[in-house]
Symmetry: C2
Subunit: 474 residues, 2 copies
């Protein structure tokens, strides 16, 4: 009975651990345990002997001997957040008798190699690389297989969404003896491997808003000029400070943060356009794009009204619950030391806008400028070819196998995904899915395309570990 | 016509570049060119910006656009030596229209990251690891594909024998987007991944000698006790110095080098038991095991005669031409800083002898002792599990594909090879081949098993690049 999609992807019930419960409880994950594992700071040389404690989460209530290990490859956030947004692992744990592991990425969350000083100097931060993170995962995976009761012969399946999805794929590429199969959702490898034109991403963000309302996208396109013109006068800046409820007065030296914050808000809203309430980086309403556009439906309103409406629109993202007192111009949503460094070293993503095909202010992609900035900030010189040489990019995966990727078409990261399948790479496109949609806990509001994609992924997973399942399920 | 094994593996002729020439000339390789490429000392972090010049050889006389790249992954020696012992690449260059590349391994030959001080301190020598070496090859391969005329769409096939063969396999495992196929000969991955009992290797050396003459093996088994007893008296040591023609007097503090040197000599002779004269680390006669045993046929000779005979036997290896004036007890054949370090870090090979099933003096494998020694010498603590975690060992290759390995049964390294094939891994056993036999220039004295193995390897290679070959060969 558990094999039937109608139960595990129920329209009204969901599975937590062994229990079928009403859907509204599904946000509550079953209790996992927290662990730490000693890792070498450097896996590839013998010049340094430092170690650090890597955090990982375990859920083993459904695991039986020789069941598979679902291994989530943590990305750019606290590992608990990954568990929260990957409910599908919990949903499937029972059916697959799987051991769930969520491993935290080095230099994020609580896995700081040198505590609060982890980013002081290149000698400390220099070990934040994708290859080192993958070696952490490989070492932890080998340790778990060797030491967890019943796991010695378990097939390990890597999971990940977004950057984590990239890592899940690369685990399969680089450690095929440890990772039997990789399942990646919305993994934008192509964006970081120089395979997608720089304008594509913001065009896709625009498309998500346009699909809600043309007028909304037109309103957003107006914002930047209005901001620019208001920022040129003292009165205008005073008004902006009030309209956007900033903690500090808006001034010439922080106005660019206001631009960046607004842009990032629209980008993020477009990624997280789920048909139900979510709580990832903060609470979001169902269909947040629609919610934001409710304030921006009239692209001909006055400049001041447009600014007030814009504030309300982005508050959908950062202040859905009304708890935020004021917005600090010192911070942006992605104010994250780890990601800043990775974006200057390996994860180079060309982004540009022309203000015509997209709804942002025109901005060219200037690699030299980025390189100079990175040199000043971290003493590193970004090489946009690097990731492609190491991992082959999104289009170079035809020599590998046992990978299943899902690409959510309503996600602006879509175009950077692995879009071409092969004998060994199963590619599933999800017409109405948002970023990483399929890996979330199944929900009665999920579009059919998401539910269908999950059943296809399940079939691939079942096939890859079928001898065991046949044995256990009889 | 070139497709016929009867020509390219001729009994009386061999192919150098475009010319069929009499076999005796085959030792002469066609002229390659020497190049250098700037590599980062560290590929996996951003704490260090040092670079070094990696040496590589190119032979492009037969290359045509889109022809494959035969990429030899250099190992623990000067890259020229690899070219010399891999005549098959030259032999096949024309048929495959291939570009030949021989890349030198970092910290060997002329590819020293810090010149003569490359082994001073862990900050310098610490970057000698297999993973760094593979990243060098990947970076060089990507560079060649991007910059060599006609190579952009070339399939890259990695080649290697012995340690190089291990690297060739791992290039395919770790960089499948760059390496289409790996061809490895006599690659003893299992020996270095803790998958073979420690006694196996010296038993296999013994078997090679036994296959020549039981009495010879018995003579060698006597050597160690005789040495031990002579070393206990001043007279005995004086005699040993004369018998073994040592440059220094034999004393209590260097007698262990004499033991080691003799053992290594027998090991090496058994590896290089080719049916024709060779010139690798020095000139060797055809069938060197038989030559050595010619002096050791009588295991009942007097102790002093046995010592004199032993000297003559090992002189087959190190003084075939009679040019060596005396043997220095300061050096052993494998006195090689790079290998010493690798054998203390990643390349841990358990070796023991019992003096019963093998012809050596009994010696247990003592990991703790090795670890303490390595700690004293290099400040590193060998982890015998490490290589298996990183690469999966010889028995964990069932999740990969496009690999062809040959195992030469007359090679004592045989048992550590990848012995089990799968859908993606073609395993070819060569009954009468010595170490890396199949990769050498075809020779009229080659056993049929070697010639047959080459034709099977060729078929795998042809299949893997067939669209191109079909196009060019019509």
């Amino acid at each position: 009975m558990l094999n039937s999609p109608l139960v595990t992807e129920s329209t009204m019930l969901c599975l937590i651990g062994a229990m079928l419960v009403p859907m509204k409880l599904c946000d509550e994950l079953p209790e996992y345990t927290v662990h730490y594992f000693d890792q070498r700071v450097d896996h590839f040389g013998f010049h340094k002997r430092d170690t650090f404690r890597q955090k990982y989460l375990i859920y083993d209530k459904e695991f039986v001997e020789r069941g598979p290990i679902f291994f989530y490859c943590g990305g750019e956030m606290h590992v608990e957040l990954h568990a929260k947004q990957t409910g599908l692992m919990f949903t499937w744990a029972r059916e697959f008798k799987a051991l769930l592991v969520f491993a935290e990425h080095r230099y994020y969350g609580d896995s700081m190699p040198y505590g609060e000083t982890s980013f002081y100097g290149s000698e400390r931060r220099g070990y934040l690389t994708t290859e080192q993170a993958l070696a952490d995962y490989a070492t932890l995976a080998a340790h778990l297989k060797a030491n967890r009761t019943g796991a010695a012969k378990s097939d390990l399946i890597t999971w990940g969404s977004g950057y984590s999805g990239m890592l899940a794929v690369w685990m399969r590429v680089k450690y095929p003896h440890l990772a039997k199969l990789a399942y990646a959702s919305s993994a934008p490898i192509g964006y970081y491997s120089g395979e997608v034109p720089c304008g594509k991403f913001l065009k896709s963000v625009t498309a998500v808003f346009k699909s809600e309302s043309e007028s909304c996208a037109q309103s957003i396109r107006r914002i930047w000029n209005v901001l620019q013109s208001m920022a040129s006068s003292r009165d205008g800046m005073t008004f902006l400070g009030e309209a956007f409820n900033t903690c500090q007065p808006v001034r010439g030296d922080n106005i660019s943060n206001l631009f960046r914050w607004l842009k990032e808000s629209f980008r993020t809203i477009s990624m997280l356009d789920f048909p139900y309430e979510t709580d990832l980086f903060g609470k979001l309403p169902a269909y947040p794009v629609k919610e934001a556009c409710n304030y921006l439906w009239n692209h001909q309103q006055t400049e001041r009204d447009l600014m007030r409406a814009t504030y309300k629109a982005v508050s959908v993202l950062y202040n859905h619950t009304g708890e935020v007192v004021c917005y600090s111009l010192d911070n942006t949503l992605r104010n994250n030391a780890g990601w800043g460094f990775q974006a200057c070293t390996e994860l180079i993503m060309p982004v540009c806008s022309d203000g015509m095909e997209d709804m942002f202010n025109p901005k060219a992609w200037d690699l030299k400028r980025v390189q100079r900035k990175c040199m000043n900030k971290f003493g590193v010189w970004p090489d946009p070819q690097r990731l492609k040489t190491i991992f082959g990019g999104a289009s170079g995966l035809n020599n590998v196998e046992n990978i299943v990727v899902t690409n959510n078409q309503r996600d602006p990261w879509f175009d950077g995904g692995i879009l071409t399948g092969s004998e060994g790479v199963t590619v599933i496109s999800i017409r109405n899915g948002a970023h990483g949609h399929d890996m979330r806990t199944p929900h009665d509001k999920d579009p059919i395309s998401v539910t269908w994609a999950r059943s296809r992924v399940r079939a691939v997973l079942r096939r890859s570990i079928s001898p065991f399942l046949n044995y256990v399920l009889g």
